[in-house]
């Protein structure tokens, strides 16, 4: 099932399909390892609901929900 990264629940794991929308943000995300085919797990969201904490390429990265919207993922398991 495909959805955007911000729609995934805490603890869910997915595989990145693609990053829509070009620009500096996407470039930064790519360099940090948010690439097509990479596996990503949602660890938690911050106390106020935003940003998210992700597990990607074996490390923890935090991004905002608004940027997570440009990341299309395929959910792997619950």
């Amino acid at each position: 099932m495909e959805m955007t990264l911000d729609q995934m629940e805490v603890g869910q794991k997915g595989r990145i399909v693609k990053l829509v929308k070009q620009g500096a943000t996407r470039k930064a995300l790519l360099e940090m390892g948010i690439l097509p085919n990479a596996e990503v797990t949602i660890i938690r969201s911050a106390p106020l609901g935003d940003p998210l904490e992700l597990l990607i390429q074996g490390y923890h990265l935090s991004i905002r929900k608004v940027d997570a919207q440009m990341i299309i993922v395929e959910v792997l398991d619950k």
Partner: protein
């Protein structure tokens, strides 16, 4: 002397390695043209000396932040004899991204696999020899906090720094190989020599759309017209995706290929200590309260631990005063005795007394910085900061500002959006630095109990923070209008701060403070004493007091504010000089500045509490110090903005101090 540079991602233990290589033989200067702090030190090993430059921690070399720009400039222009690239073994893949970019750049590279112990605890082992073969660069393994591998690293540095910087032609961009080849040719035709540039790198950077490299080539007189034509043709032929995706993808593909060969993982993802701590520290309900408690705790630690030491230093200076008075007599009209006791001891001693709490504050902020907790604070506060037009990361310079505004202003260089960076620089002056603490301690300490004084100081910090954030919000709505930048931040594993690293950092900050006390404040104290001896301060102070008529202060306090424009320590120093003049001669035992201050406050004001608060608020908010303004000037590279900022500080301080007075009169 040979020069080597240390380059790494943030949070991989670079500073610990830098300290291990250079010991305390370090100095801080600036990179040419910009004020990014350039920390360098001398490595001595086997009778050889090498300059080691500690470059800022970065994830990539694509020049979106000043840090990245500087690092790349350093490699291209200063051509260091060797680049030491430190890698976190427990996070090999992402760390290798920078390594590949360094190889693309043709740097003479030595890779250090650090934090092997943390990797091991995660069940990760890396075959260093194999990695070295694949990267075609030497690889040394270290566990820096345990000094493991440091001798080997030193020896390897000596050995490999003898090689010349030779641009190599590595490339993992098969997809572009023909395009890169064509651009390379046209670069060559345009007169770019492979001696000066790693041509493949320059060609692929141009293809990737790198603005900085364009400017550099154009500046050195290269005509890029032909090159541009080739690039246009090349990008037209690109597969469906664009260059930046293809580039990142190609690098990571190469990384995965390497990592697959050299890395073995015997455990699945483990529940680590960091995960456990984050469960609590970033908890949905407890996370933010814990952050507040942590900072409240820091300040209380600073006060309760520092206070006895203040007494001790005070005692030393009062003994010194007595010694001088015993020897020379306590003649109030004697210029030289007065200069020694009231001028120098009163002024410089008046501020040195606070060294213990300032040092503790530096220590506490430094330790928090090193643990990785500040990244969590940015994570916790991003949504709030975003409301005010800033990025969560902007909270870090603010928290660092509690120690000293200058490194805090410099730390804004990691903020990628220029408008947000400038906003952060502008408002940092409102953050109460360590040098302002003595003012609160002195004034609140003169009027209230110790606990009350500590809480009042805390309140001042809070007011500074609120003013900073509110001003940022206003600036982002007006002068620096624009979208907020994305928040993309690593949450690194928590690290136990290294004692040596903390102490070295503490010593450097204290050294700065002592240097200031021995130069700027000493000179100010002497000038103030001399002016006062010839009765020139009183009229000046009276003018200031008239400007602040609503605050109801005596001239000494007014003059102190004026002299305090130079540095906040001078406020206390000036009060030390001016108030003790009136108290010491008759009664040399009664040298307590607080008593003198309390008397003067009561003499001037009809509402001492309101006056004291108003005075503290003004001291908190007006011009941090000349040095901080210097940092603003250099970081903004604009006199106009610096003057603008200075005016803003003074106006905001004046208005809010008046408001405080009005509210104070109403409450007290």
């Amino acid at each position: 002397m040979k020069t080597i540079g240390l380059i790494a991602n943030p949070n991989v233990g670079k500073t610990v390695i830098f300290n291990a290589l250079t010991g305390a033989r370090q100095s801080v200067a600036n990179f040419p043209g910009v004020t990014v702090e350039k920390k360098s030190g001398i490595l001595r090993h086997n009778n050889e000396e090498i300059t080691v430059v500690d470059l800022p921690g970065i994830y990539s070399l694509t020049t979106s932040s000043i840090d990245e720009k500087i690092t790349r400039q350093f490699i291209i222009e200063e051509k260091p004899d060797l680049i030491i690239n430190i890698i976190d073994s427990s996070n090999l893949d992402r760390n290798l991204y920078l390594t590949l970019q360094l190889l693309e750049l043709g740097a003479n590279l030595l890779v250090v696999l650090n934090m092997g112990d943390i990797a091991e605890s995660k069940g990760i082992t890396i075959d260093a020899k194999f990695l070295s073969n694949l990267l075609e660069a030497p690889v040394i393994e270290t566990i820096a906090p345990k000094k493991k591998g440091i001798i080997e690293l030193k020896t390897a540095i000596l050995e490999h720094s003898n090689k010349k910087f030779t641009p190599t032609n590595v490339s993992w961009f098969d997809a572009f190989s023909s395009e890169i080849g064509v651009i390379k040719e046209s670069l060559k035709n345009a007169g770019v020599t492979s001696e000066k540039w790693a041509l493949t790198w320059a060609a692929s950077a141009l293809l990737e759309g790198d603005e900085v490299i364009r400017d550099m080539l154009e500046e050195s007189g290269v005509d890029l017209k032909l090159v541009d034509k080739v690039i246009d043709e090349a990008t037209e032929n690109l597969p469906e995706s664009d260059a930046e995706l293809v580039y990142a993808d190609a690098r990571y593909k190469h990384i995965f290929a390497i990592s697959k060969k050299v890395k073995t993982k015997t455990m699945d993802e483990q529940w680590t200590k960091t995960d456990m701590m984050d469960e609590v520290l970033t908890h949905k309900y407890f996370g933010i309260p814990i952050f507040l408690v942590v900072f409240w705790g820091v300040f209380h630690f600073v006060f309760s631990f520092g206070d006895p030491f203040i007494g001790l230093v005070e005692l030393i200076f009062s003994k010194l005063t007595n010694l001088i008075i015993d020897d020379f007599g306590a003649d109030p009209d004697n210029f030289f005795t007065g200069l020694l006791t009231d001028g120098i001891i009163g002024g410089v001693g008046g501020i040195l007394v606070f060294l213990p709490i300032i040092a503790l504050l530096f220590l506490a902020i430094g330790v928090l910085e090193d643990t990785g907790y500040l990244a969590r604070v940015a994570f916790l506060m991003d949504k709030i900061m975003n409301r005010f037009g800033l990025n969560g990361q902007a909270i870090v310079p603010m928290l660092l500002g509690f120690g000293c505004n200058i490194p805090a202003i410099m730390s804004t260089r990691t903020i990628k959006s220029e408008k947000e960076r400038l906003t952060s620089i502008f408002v940092n002056g409102f953050i109460s630095c360590g040098a302002r603490l003595p003012i609160y301690v002195l004034i609140a300490g003169a009027l209230y109990s110790e606990t009350e004084a500590a809480n009042i100081a805390l309140l001042m910090y809070l007011i500074g923070m609120i003013v900073a954030i509110t001003t940022a919000w206003i600036l982002r709505k007006t002068y620096f209008k624009g979208e907020t930048s994305p928040f993309i931040m690593e949450l690194p594993p928590y690290l136990r701060p290294s004692i040596t690293a903390s102490l070295i950092k503490l010593w450097q900050r204290c050294k700065g403070f002592l240097y200031k006390a021995g130069t700027l404040i000493l000179i100010s104290a002497i000038i103030i004493y001399c002016l006062n001896f010839f009765e020139m301060v009183e009229p000046i102070g009276k003018v200031v007091a008239i400007l602040f008529w609503w605050m109801e202060i005596e001239w000494e306090l007014g003059a102190a504010l004026l002299f305090g424009l130079v540095a906040k320590e001078v406020v206390v120093g000036a009060l030390g000089v001016l108030l003790q003049v009136e108290n010491t001669p008759d009664n040399p035992e009664d040298t307590d500045l607080r008593v003198a201050l309390k008397t003067r406050l009561q003499e001037g004001s009809s509402n001492v509490d309101a006056t004291a608060f108003s005075y503290m608020v003004f001291s908190l908010l007006y011009v941090p110090c000349f040095a901080a303004l210097g940092a603003v000037r250099q970081e903004t590279n604009s006199w106009k903005m610096t003057i603008w900022v200075t005016v803003m500080y003074i106006v905001v301080a004046y208005v809010l101090a008046a408001l405080t007075m009005a509210i104070g009169v109403f409450i007290f």
